[in-house]
Structure formats: structure tokens, C-alpha cells
């Protein structure tokens, strides 16, 4: 209280307040930039898409307001549900494959006996930095019947009877196109989970070791609960990210044979730009958003409850 009456300190306080105010202005100014970008590049197109989805529009001439007719068509559209099923199946494979394998790898990384940790991390992360379209082409060659790497390896291993028409059989094509998707993004989730694992205080592990806990017990009873929230975010990112999958499948199968590996984004693109039905295309893109939100919500619900 006495301090307040002191003229020098009072002056200092005013300066401090002014400084704080300036700092807040700066913070807001800095936040404004990404916010404007977000509004312009994400929110605005989203609103426009929703508006389009209530219209019949071929891209030329006037739009014709049709209310919920596009949504009615969507519900009865077999091709849409096939694409939705494929997308969700790939999302499931991606969560199990990408996050699952990444989790195991990050557990292994805590093992003291592991050598060349940096090297492993870099190699596993490497595919993440490659363009999905390149990944698509690489795997198209890997799966090739005559000069593909996969069939060549199977032949060398004496398992020529395992050779299948990887991208030509509607029964297995969804699994075949999921493998590159999983392979590409293991590294990303490994880095996220590894970050969480690294932030666990070392003394917890040391205590457990003193009590005689082995590597498996440490992983399940210490690491897993400690990184649960990060794991949840990784799964949400992975599932909602897979809703956007496009490039790899476009290159590898273009949704074929027939429509057996078609996914929502591919169906949306074809409807909009090949068939020229901009209104219905927008309806499909709104459905992608809804699927993404629903998935994120469900995962949040399931994993949140288990933690409690």
C-alpha cells in the first residue's frame, strides 16, 4: 500500500500497465492475421458450400434454389454410401495402423537397449514429407503385376501363390490402397506420441524400475495413461484427416475398378468437375464435414469416458 504513494513506483506502475496494454494490442494484432486467413480460406468457402448445397447449379447460368432436394438425393444415393463406407473403413484402418504402429514404436523408443534412435526416427518420419501424389505413384509401381516390387519379393520368398491382382480385385482393393496411406503417416503420429512420452518425468520410470517393473508393464501402466490425452488427439487427427484422403487413391485406382475404391472426396470431385453438378458436389462436401465432426465427437466421447 505504501508503495502506491511513492511517486517513482507509481510512475513505474503506470508504465507497466501501458506496457501490458501495448503487449495485448500486439497479441491481438498478431492473432488477427491467422484469424483473417482462417475466415477467408476456411469459414467463407464453408458457408458458400452450404449455400450451394441447397441449389441446383451446373456451374453456368443462374442457380436454382431446391431446398433439401440435394440432401434427399444424397440419402438415397448408393454410390455415395459406397464411398462413405470405403472412407470410414479406410479411416478405421488408418487409426489402427497409423496410431497403433506409432504407439508401439514410441513404446520401443523408451527401451534403453535401442540403438540409433535418431536414425530410426528420421527414417520412419521420412514418408510424411513426401507429397501424397508421389506416394500414390510409388505404390502403384510396387503393386504392379509384372515389374512390381511386392510380387517380386513374394516370388523370391517362394510365396508366388500369394500374388494377387492387388489393385484389380474389388474384394481387396480397399485394403490395398489403405497400406500406403498408413505407411505414409506412421511417422507423423510417432513424432506426436514420442513428444508426449518424452515429457513424462524420468523419475516415475526409475521408481517403477526399482519396484521391478519390466518394459511391458512400464508401457501399459505408466506411458499409456500419461499420454492418453495426446493419444486421443492423435486418433481424432488421424480419423478426421482420413476423411480428406484423395491423392493416393486418385493416382492408384481413380476409385476403380468400377467404384469399388471410391472415397467421398473423389466422389465429390467427380460430381462437381466431371459431371458439372456443383450443387450436389457441395452437398457431398458438406457431408464430409459432418462425417469428420461426428467421428471427432464419437472418439472424444469414447476415450473421455474410458479415462474417467
Amino acid at each position: 500500500m505504501i508503495c502506491h504513494s511513492h511517486p517513482v513506483i507509481k510512475k513505474g506502475n503506470v508504465m507497466l500497465k501501458k506496457k501490458a496494454r501495448n503487449k495485448i494490442t500486439l497479441v491481438y494484432a498478431l492473432i488477427l492475421v491467422p484469424l483473417l486467413m482462417y475466415i477467408f480460406f476456411i469459414i467463407t468457402p464453408l458457408i458458400i458450400s452450404v449455400i450451394y448445397s441447397f441449389n441446383k447449379w451446373s456451374g453456368i447460368g443462374a442457380k436454382q434454389f431446391t431446398g433439401l432436394r440435394n440432401y434427399d438425393r444424397l440419402i438415397h444415393d448408393k454410390n455415395f454410401w459406397l464411398a462413405a463406407k470405403n472412407t470410414l473403413v479406410i479411416a478405421l484402418y488408418a487409426v489402427l495402423g497409423q496410431v497403433g504402429i506409432a504407439l508401439i514404436i514410441s513404446f520401443l523408443m523408451t527401451n534403453h537397449k535401442l540403438k540409433f534412435r535418431e536414425f530410426h526416427r528420421t527414417v520412419i518420419f521420412f514418408p510424411v514429407v513426401m507429397a501424397p501424389i508421389v506416394i500414390g505413384f510409388i505404390w502403384k509401381f510396387i503393386y504392379n503385376k509384372d515389374y512390381g516390387l511386392l510380387n517380386a519379393l513374394l516370388k523370391i520368398a517362394g510365396r508366388a501363390n500369394w500374388i494377387k491382382p492387388w489393385l484389380d480385385d474389388p474384394g481387396i482393393v480397399v485394403k490395398s490402397v489403405s497400406v500406403p496411406v498408413i505407411w505414409q503417416f506412421i511417422g507423423l503420429y510417432m513424432v506426436i506420441l514420442l513428444g508426449a512420452v518424452m515429457s513424462i518425468p524420468n523419475d516415475i520410470f526409475e521408481c517403477a524400475e526399482l519396484d521391478g517393473a519390466n518394459w511391458g508393464q512400464k508401457s501399459i501402466y505408466i506411458t499409456l495413461p500419461m499420454i492418453w490425452d495426446t493419444l486421443k488427439i492423435a486418433i481424432i487427427l488421424c480419423a478426421s484427416g482420413t476423411m480428406k484422403i484423395y491423392d493416393q487413391i486418385y493416382v492408384m485406382t481413380n476409385g476403380g475398378p468400377g467404384r469399388s475404391s471410391s472415397v467421398l472426396t473423389l466422389y465429390c470431385y467427380d460430381t462437381t468437375f466431371r459431371i458439372g453438378n456443383f450443387g450436389y458436389g457441395a452437398t457431398i462436401s458438406v457431408s464430409i464435414l459432418l462425417f469428420g465432426l461426428a467421428l471427432a465427437g464419437i472418439i472424444q466421447l469414447l476415450m473421455g469416458r474410458r479415462k474417467n
Binding site: 501495448n22 500486439l26 494484432a29 498478431l30 488477427l32 492475421v33 483473417l36 486467413m37 477467408f40 451446373s58 456451374g59 453456368i60 447460368g61 502403384k140 503393386y143 504392379n144 503385376k145 509384372d146 491382382p165 492387388w166 489393385l167 484389380d168 480385385d169 474389388p170 492408384m252 485406382t253 481413380n254 476409385g255 476403380g256 475398378p257 468400377g258 467404384r259 469399388s260 467427380d270 468437375f273 466431371r274 459431371i275 458439372g276 453438378n277 456443383f278
Partner: protein, 455 residues
């Protein structure tokens, strides 16, 4: 400290301003960064200056790859360069987009109402553009020598309600069987099969020698439908049937003849005429199989001739012959029919008027009339215009063989150029399934008819 704060505020402001400027150019400048100077330099149609076409300008969008050594790109470059030299006062804001991306790009421009003055357009988009008043019929503009110089059928794909809306620059058979006569002889097939039954026989013989009878790369989905099945179907149905189907005047996909065509086409796949990975390799790879002598033949449109000339090994080139899809005895179609036509053509936007339109027409004449036809032949492809007194001795021997083949066929409407895009997409996807027995001919006909009915 203070200086740093000032600096960061300054940088923030710059970033914000530059972003807003970016926004402005996105929404204000019609073409944004992808279409440099194209629309901004668009002509003011009201200005008319004296002195021929001097001062006129128009924007142009096309897919002719002018760096190509042969084919449409090379011919276009030769003819357009000559015109530009003769008309130095005219400004053409020209933009090139690769063929595979062209349709998507064009549809994006359409949707944002930023079409250039002159652009290449495909038959199935014209009706919408004409209805919206974006383009006008060109019958008055091409009247006279120019219009009468077009080959028979060249204007078909660009015709809406009986009036031409596009200027054709090519006339391509969508289907030609390319075969290696040495391989056929080796397999005991001494001449190209002239009937469907003889073809089935030949397939067995070719397979027995370890070759793939017909290389097929259908991962892009359109190859099997557009280049193979479409012409095969003309052995069972006629162009009149197709027009009736298209205009919903009685003919249906479910008609017996069409279903029979589907069934017999499926049979070709069932007896092993094609490579088993046909739906996962593309049409570049199908040509490679032929060039590497793994396959006895492949079937593609006229555009493959340029590729053969440029890329096939000499011995394959020498053994290469062209043929039509064999006749099916008693099926009711025409044995000489081939799906073919101009497909694409130049359109002029109705907002282009006065001297600018004159300049555009003058330019388009130079890249489509019979003079252009002669240039096109020298570059290994056939334009939409008739050419008198062709000297075949100066042509590449492979192209000369193709010319001889194509003079024997009758070009009929291409299904996927004239049908609505949704029906074409259905045909593409279902043809892939038909080839691997994932759908029966009856089901496929039913599905396609349902999509057509919904249009």
C-alpha cells in the same frame, strides 16, 4: 526492445495488408494468379480503330502443347506463328493448360464466370453454355469457303439444335486397332481377323504363344469404353439408334442389341483377350506393352499414331498395321462404323464483338481451315478440314498407313462426347466392372438407363 516492437508491429501490418491485397486480387481480379494478364487485358469491344485488325485483342485458352515435335501442338504452333507474324498489331492473351487438366480448369472458369473470349470446348458442355447465352451459333461466321471446307461430320460434335457452336480443328477416329503383323504371323494368324469369331480364334492362338492379345490400360476408366467398346457396339447398333437413345426417342440401353454387345464384349475379357491388370495400368503403359512386343495389339484413338511415330522401336514401327474392329456376323450393325469426330472445337464468347471478334475469327480460320489441314497432315494428324491432293510420299510411313485405314471407315457419334457427363461416368465405371465380371450385361444396361432417365 521498443525498436523490436515497432518492427514486429510493422511486419504484422505488412502481412495483414498483403493478405488483404491478396484477397482483393482473388475476388477483384477475375483470373487471379493462374491466368496472368488474361482477363485484365481483355478487349474493350467498343473501340474501333482504323487500319485492318491493328489494335484488336482477345484472350484465348487452349490445350495445344506447342513444344511437341509432332501432332496437334506442332501444327498449331506453325499455323498460329504464321498468323501472328502477318498480324503484328493484334494482341492475343494466350494461355495453355495441359489436356488432362483442361476440362476441370474450364469448368472452374465457367463457374466463376471468367471464361476467356475464345476457348476450346467439348460437345457435351455446349448446350448449357448456349442456353445461358454465353456463346452464339457460328453459322454466319463460317459461311462460305471456310465452312464448306470442313470434312463430313466434323461439325457434328459441336452442333446444338442444328446450329454449329464450335469450329473443329481435328477429326479423329476414336478407335483404331494397332497390331504387329510379325507377331500375328508368328502365332499363325496370317491376316487380321475380319469377324468376331475369327478374332476369338486368333486370341487363343496369340495366347498360346505367350503374348497378351490386346494390351489394355484402363485405369483412367475412359479407354475401354470410349476407344474399344463404343466402336464394338456399332457392330450391333446404328447411329440412328444412338441418336434416338440420346434424345430419349424410344431407344434404350436395355435394348436387346446393346445388351448383346455388352455380353460379347465381356466375353472378350473372359477368354483372356486383355492383360489381367487392365484396370490398374494406364494407356501409356498399354502402348509400352505393345512397343516391348509383349502384346500383339492395342486399341486406341487416332492420337496414338503420333506416339507410335515418336516412341516405338523401328522394328515395331515397320510391323505396325491398322485395322478396324472386326465385323460381327448377323448382329445388325455397320462393319465400317467407327466412333469418331471432332470432339472438341473453338468457341467464341458472345461478349466478344466488333473488331476483336473479327481478329478472333481471322485467327481461328488460320488454325482450322484447309491450309491448316495440310500443315496438320505434315505433323501427323488429321484436321477438321478437307485437304485436296495429299502427297503421301512426304508423310511418315506409319501415318500414311493410318490415313489409308481411316479413309475406309465411317465416323459415327462418340457416346461419351454426346451423352450427358453423368451417363458417360456411369458407362466408364460399369465398363470397368463388366471387364472383371463384377456386373452382368443386363445389370449394366439397367444402371446406365437409370442414370440417363434421371437426366
Amino acid at each position: 526492445m521498443k525498436r523490436r516492437k515497432v518492427l514486429s508491429l510493422f511486419l504484422t501490418t505488412i502481412l495483414a495488408v498483403s493478405m488483404l491485397a491478396g484477397c482483393k486480387s482473388k475476388s477483384g481480379d477475375p483470373a487471379a494468379s493462374n491466368v496472368p494478364d488474361m482477363i485484365t487485358a481483355a478487349p474493350d469491344s467498343s473501340t474501333t480503330e482504323a487500319g485492318g485488325l491493328d489494335g484488336a485483342s482477345f484472350s484465348l485458352l487452349h490445350f495445344h502443347k506447342t513444344t511437341d515435335e509432332s501432332g496437334t501442338g506442332a501444327a498449331y504452333k506453325t499455323a498460329s506463328d504464321a498468323w501472328k507474324t502477318a498480324n503484328p498489331g493484334v494482341t492475343i492473351n494466350e494461355e495453355f493448360v495441359a489436356h488432362d487438366d483442361y476440362e476441370t480448369y474450364l469448368k472452374t472458369l465457367m463457374a466463376s464466370e471468367k471464361l476467356p473470349d475464345v476457348f476450346i470446348c467439348k460437345g457435351d458442355m455446349l448446350e448449357q453454355l448456349a442456353e445461358a447465352g454465353v456463346i452464339d451459333p457460328l453459322d454466319d461466321d463460317i459461311a462460305g469457303e471456310w465452312g464448306s471446307g470442313f470434312s463430313e461430320g466434323a461439325l457434328n460434335d459441336g452442333t446444338v439444335n442444328g446450329k454449329p457452336y464450335t469450329i473443329p480443328f481435328q477429326l479423329q477416329a476414336n478407335c483404331t486397332v494397332v497390331y504387329n503383323k510379325d507377331i500375328l504371323t508368328e502365332c499363325g494368324v496370317n491376316e487380321f481377323p475380319s469377324t468376331y469369331d475369327a478374332l476369338l480364334d486368333a486370341i487363343e492362338k496369340i495366347k498360346a504363344k505367350g503374348y497378351t492379345p490386346v494390351a489394355l490400360g484402363n485405369s483412367a476408366k475412359w479407354v475401354a469404353e470410349s476407344c474399344l467398346f463404343n466402336t464394338f457396339a456399332y457392330r450391333y447398333v446404328t447411329a440412328d439408334w444412338f441418336n434416338s437413345l440420346k434424345n430419349k426417342e424410344g431407344a434404350k440401353f436395355t435394348d436387346e442389341a446393346f445388351v448383346q454387345a455388352l455380353a460379347d464384349f465381356q466375353k472378350l475379357a473372359d477368354v483372356g483377350a486383355f492383360n489381367s491388370d487392365m484396370n490398374s495400368i494406364d494407356n501409356m503403359e498399354q502402348k509400352k506393352m505393345y512397343y516391348n512386343k509383349k502384346a500383339a495389339m492395342f486399341i486406341e484413338g487416332a492420337w496414338c499414331v503420333g506416339d507410335i511415330i515418336a516412341n516405338a522401336p523401328d522394328d515395331v514401327k515397320a510391323a505396325t498395321e491398322f485395322a478396324n474392329i472386326p465385323e460381327v456376323t448377323g448382329a445388325g450393325g455397320d462393319k465400317d462404323a467407327v466412333a469418331g469426330g471432332a470432339g472438341w472445337g473453338y468457341c467464341i464468347k458472345s461478349s466478344l464483338t466488333g473488331k476483336n471478334k473479327e481478329a478472333a475469327l481471322s485467327f481461328l480460320k488460320a488454325v482450322s481451315d484447309s491450309g491448316y489441314g495440310a500443315v496438320a497432315l505434315q505433323n501427323g494428324f488429321i484436321s477438321g478440314s478437307k485437304v485436296e491432293n495429299v502427297d503421301t510420299s512426304s508423310l511418315d510411313p506409319v501415318f500414311a498407313k493410318y490415313l489409308a485405314y481411316v479413309s475406309t471407315v465411317k465416323q459415327q457419334p462418340i457416346f461419351d462426347v454426346q451423352l450427358p457427363a453423368a451417363v458417360s461416368e456411369e458407362l466408364y465405371a460399369r465398363t470397368q466392372e463388366l471387364l472383371i465380371d463384377a456386373v452382368t450385361p443386363e445389370e449394366m444396361a439397367q444402371y446406365c438407363q437409370e442414370v440417363l432417365d434421371a437426366q
